[in-house]
Amino acid sequence: MNLRVLACALACLAAPASAHAFLDHAKPGAGTVLQVAPGSVMLLFSDDLQPESGVTILDSSGHSVGTGRVMITGNCIMAPLRRLGPGKYRVVWHAVSMDDHRTQGAYVFEVKP
C-alpha cells in the first residue's frame, strides 16, 4: 500500500514540465530603426503558448495598426500589419504558457521616412 502511494507521488512529479514563456526573439526587435516598414511583427517565446496569448501594435496616437488577425502557433505569435508610415510603433504582448503562467511586455520600434 505504501509503495503504491509512493509510486503515485513519483508519477505525479514526473509529469512533463512547462515553464514561463519569456520573449526569446522579436522581429522587428526592441528599439530597432527600420528604413522599410515591416509587413508583420513576429514574436518567438521560450515556451509554447496558449491561444489566450496575444499582441497589439499601436501607433504614436494609440491606434492599432494590426490587421486584426493574430496567429499563434507553438511558441510563435505573428501579427500582420497594415501599411505603416514613418513613425514610432509600440508592440504590447502578453503570453500564457501551457502551464497557465502569464508574462507580458512592450517595446517600441521606429520606421524612418
Partner: protein
C-alpha cells in the same frame, strides 16, 4: 518493513493530493514586465515555489553548505524552510563543524503593482534554537520580523530608457534573540540588478544570444547593525545570475565592509530550481486557493 510511520505516509499523500488539485498561483519573481531572479544573499520578496540546493559559501575561515525550500500554501503566502552545514576553521582555534539551526520563514505578499513593477512583502524569520549541532548553532531561538520589497524601473521615461532594466530589492528586519547575552540587531540587505533580458526585450534588441541575454549582473549587500552600538558588520557581494527555463545559477564575491566583518574576499554560489515551472501541476502550485 515500514520505512516511514503509517501516519506520515498518509499525511504526505493527503498533502500531495491537495497540491495536485490546487490551481497555479503567482509566478516566481514575475511582476508586470519584470522578472526578478532569486537573489542569493538576500531573501527576494516573492512568495513562490522554489528550491535552492545547494548554496555554498566560503568566507572568513567558514565554509557553509545550505538548502532552502519555499512552498506556497495560498497564492501570495509561502513558508520557507532552510538548514545548513557549517565548517569553521579559524587559524589557531579548534575546528568546529556541524549543522546550523533550522530556519522557518513564512512570508505574505502585501501589495503588488504590475504597472510599477513593485512588490511589498512581510514575513517572519524564525531560527529555531537548539535544532542544530551544539558546536556551531545557538541554543536559543531568534525571531526576525521582516519587510521586503522589489522595484523595477520599467516606468522610467524614454529619456532614461537605458536605466529601465535596473531593479532593486531590499529587506529590513529586527532580530530578537532569546539569549540575554546577545544584542538585538537591525538586519538590512538588498540588491541592485541590471537585467540584460529586460534590455533586450523591452528597450533595445542588442542581438544577445540566449546565454548572454539571461544574465543579470548585480551587487548585493547584507548588513547587521546591533542596537547596543557595537558596530555594523556585513559584506558587499558583486556577482552574476544566469536564469534559465527551470533553473538559475548564481555566483558572487563576498567583500567585507570593515575589519569586524571578516578578512579577505570570499565567495557564494547557488543552484536554484523554479519548482513552479518544473512541477506546474503538482508541487509548483499553492496547496490551497490557487486560481488561473
Amino acid at each position: 518493513m515500514h520505512i516511514l510511520p503509517k501516519g506520515a505516509v498518509r499525511a504526505a499523500a493527503l498533502m500531495l493530493a491537495a497540491a495536485i488539485t490546487a490551481s497555479p498561483g503567482q509566478a516566481h519573481g514575475v511582476i508586470g514586465q519584470r522578472f526578478f531572479p532569486a537573489t542569493i544573499t538576500t531573501d527576494d520578496p516573492f512568495a513562490a515555489d522554489e528550491l535552492a540546493l545547494p548554496t555554498v559559501s566560503r568566507f572568513d575561515h567558514e565554509t557553509d553548505v545550505e538548502f532552502d525550500y519555499s512552498k506556497t500554501i495560498f497564492p501570495g503566502f509561502a513558508i520557507e524552510v532552510g538548514m545548513g552545514h557549517v565548517n569553521i576553521h579559524a587559524p589557531g582555534e579548534p575546528r568546529a563543524r556541524g549543522f546550523d539551526n533550522l530556519e522557518v520563514s513564512p512570508s505574505v505578499e502585501l501589495y503588488r503593482s504590475p504597472a510599477h513593477e513593485f512588490i511589498l512583502t512581510t514575513g517572519l524569520e524564525w531560527e529555531v534554537g537548539g535544532t542544530g549541532s551544539r558546536s556551531v548553532a545557538e541554543r536559543s531561538s531568534t525571531y526576525t520580523p521582516t519587510v521586503k520589497f522589489g522595484k523595477g524601473f520599467g516606468d522610467l521615461p524614454d529619456s532614461l530608457k537605458y536605466l529601465r532594466p535596473l531593479a532593486v530589492t531590499g529587506t529590513v528586519g529586527y532580530a530578537m534573540t532569546g539569549a540575554t547575552s546577545e544584542p538585538r540587531s537591525i538586519e538590512w540587505a538588498g540588491a541592485v540588478e541590471y537585467s540584460l533580458l529586460y534590455l533586450q526585450n523591452n528597450v533595445r534588441d542588442e542581438s544577445f544570444g540566449r546565454l548572454v541575454s539571461h544574465l543579470t549582473p548585480l551587487v548585493e549587500f547584507r548588513f547587521s547593525s546591533p542596537t547596543d552600538g557595537s558596530g555594523t558588520t556585513g559584506t558587499i557581494n558583486p556577482g552574476l545570475i544566469w536564469s534559465g527555463k527551470y533553473i538559475q545559477l548564481a555566483a558572487e564575491a563576498m567583500i567585507p565592509v570593515n575589519r569586524a566583518s571578516g578578512h579577505g574576499t570570499g565567495f557564494i554560489a547557488q543552484l536554484h530550481f523554479y519548482i513552479d515551472d518544473l512541477f506546474p501541476h503538482s508541487l509548483g502550485r499553492p496547496i490551497f486557493g490557487g486560481h488561473k
